[in-house]
């Protein structure tokens, strides 16, 4: 929470003080690292209260790894974006690959979420109905 507040302050400061370039590489880099840290912290917290359920049954896991894969693939691209020639803008495909992977993993997460919800609803339907005499 404190780190996030600091980061927002830094973003505002960067926006106001540093002149505009092709891409805000430094804030993006810091943001990526912060999100990485938060995701690892999330997994660490998940480990602390391990249930019988496997982690990849949880839709949050797929969302988290989607974000991680996206940040992993685009991290260096975002950091080095300002050092490319105009011809090298073709490297955007790296970002697209990351985007496609992230969206695919989000879809997996969504499918898991919907399936789980459906199972919960069908479990509710299996409950014994009211059978007593009126």
């Amino acid at each position: 929470m404190i780190i996030s507040v600091f980061f927002i302050c830094f973003q505002v400061f960067y926006y106001l003080v540093i002149p505009y370039k092709r891409l805000d590489t430094i804030p993006i880099g810091i943001e990526s690292i912060l999100i990485f840290v938060f995701i690892i912290y999330y997994f660490f917290e998940q480990f602390k209260n391990v249930k019988d359920e496997l982690i990849y049954i949880n839709h949050f896991f797929w969302v988290a790894i989607g974000i991680m894969i996206y940040l992993g693939t685009t991290f260096f691209f975002n950091i080095l974006a300002n050092h490319f020639d105009s011809q090298e803008v073709g490297y955007w495909f790296i970002s697209y690959i990351g985007d496609i992977l992230k969206n695919s993993l989000f879809v997996v997460g969504m499918i898991i979420y919907v399936t789980k919800r459906h199972n919960i609803i069908s479990d509710d339907n299996k409950k014994v109905p009211y059978l007593d005499m009126v």
Binding site: I40, I55, M68, I69, L71, L80, I94
Partner: protein
């Protein structure tokens, strides 16, 4: 930050290698998370299974003990009380009225004697089920009584000392502790060839402690755990299951001087008995 000064092809190499490295790192991290979690779950399941097996062994032991106790009671009633009452009945048969007065008196006296013996026998059976001293006067008196009886036999020196037992524990708890002590003493008498047994009680913080010392052959904690998991040592399993009920622990150890064995029972002190 060498790549900042590097030429454009250098930047491309850094970009590709860096991205590849990051992807490998992320995939590695994900795989580590998945496999680690699976390992933890497997470990937990194994632990649960072991615990269930242990519970099953304890349950079996307690059922077996219950059955043995019932058999003992049945045998006591059938072999002792039954014949005594049957003999009394023989003395008091219909022919008694046809006998002379002296024979009648003799028969009645014999029958009375046998009935008195039967009453005493039934009282003993009842006392072995629930010692009256424990019920009426508490754990301290019951244990002191037990130790006096053992000492009275002359074969072993038994003594007990309660340091802090002003507030009695709940009666169910007292009975469980008494049974555990009885079982331990029984084991010592049967297997250890000890020349003395000494029991001390104390309270420290919110814990109630009982310690039994003896100078015979004994067991240490590792032996106890081994016997607890095996199919032998019914009495020890029973001690475990009884202590589990009162959230207690037992520890078997040898004294530093290596001259005697110590058995320590530890359990949470509860609210005073009213």
């Amino acid at each position: 930050m060498f790549f900042l000064q590097a030429n454009q092809s250098g930047v491309s190499v850094v970009l590709f290698l860096g991205t590849l490295g990051m992807v490998v790192l992320v995939v590695g991290l994900i795989l580590f998370i998945i496999f680690h979690q699976r390992k933890v779950i497997r470990y937990q399941m194994k632990l649960q299974q072991m615990e269930q097996e242990q519970q099953k062994i304890l349950l079996k032991a307690s059922i077996k003990l219950q059955e043995e106790e019932r058999q003992r009671l049945a045998a006591d009633l059938h072999d002792d009380a039954g014949p005594l009452l049957a003999t009394a009945r023989l003395y008091l048969n219909e022919n008694l009225v046809n006998q002379d007065k002296a024979t009648q008196l003799q028969s009645i006296f014999q029958a009375r004697q046998i009935i008195d013996d039967t009453i005493q026998l039934i009282r003993n059976i009842s006392h072995s089920l629930m010692p009256p001293t424990l019920k009426n006067f508490g754990l301290e008196s019951a244990i002191n009584d037990l130790f006096q009886k053992i000492s009275g036999s002359g074969s072993i020196n038994a003594s007990s000392r309660f340091h802090e037992y002003k507030d009695r524990l709940r009666s169910e708890k007292e009975l469980i502790i008494f049974r555990v002590v009885q079982e331990l003493i029984n084991n010592i008498l049967k297997h250890s060839s000890a020349s003395f047994i000494h029991l001390t009680q104390n309270i420290h913080g919110d814990k109630f402690y009982l310690r039994i010392h003896h100078d015979g052959r004994g067991i240490v904690q590792s032996d106890f755990e081994k016997l607890n998991k095996s199919n032998v040592g019914l009495g020890l399993k029973n001690i475990s299951s009884r202590l589990k009920v009162v959230h207690g622990n037992i520890n078997f150890e040898k004294d530093i001087s290596q001259t005697y064995y110590k058995v320590t029972i530890e359990l949470p002190k509860d609210e005073p008995y009213n």
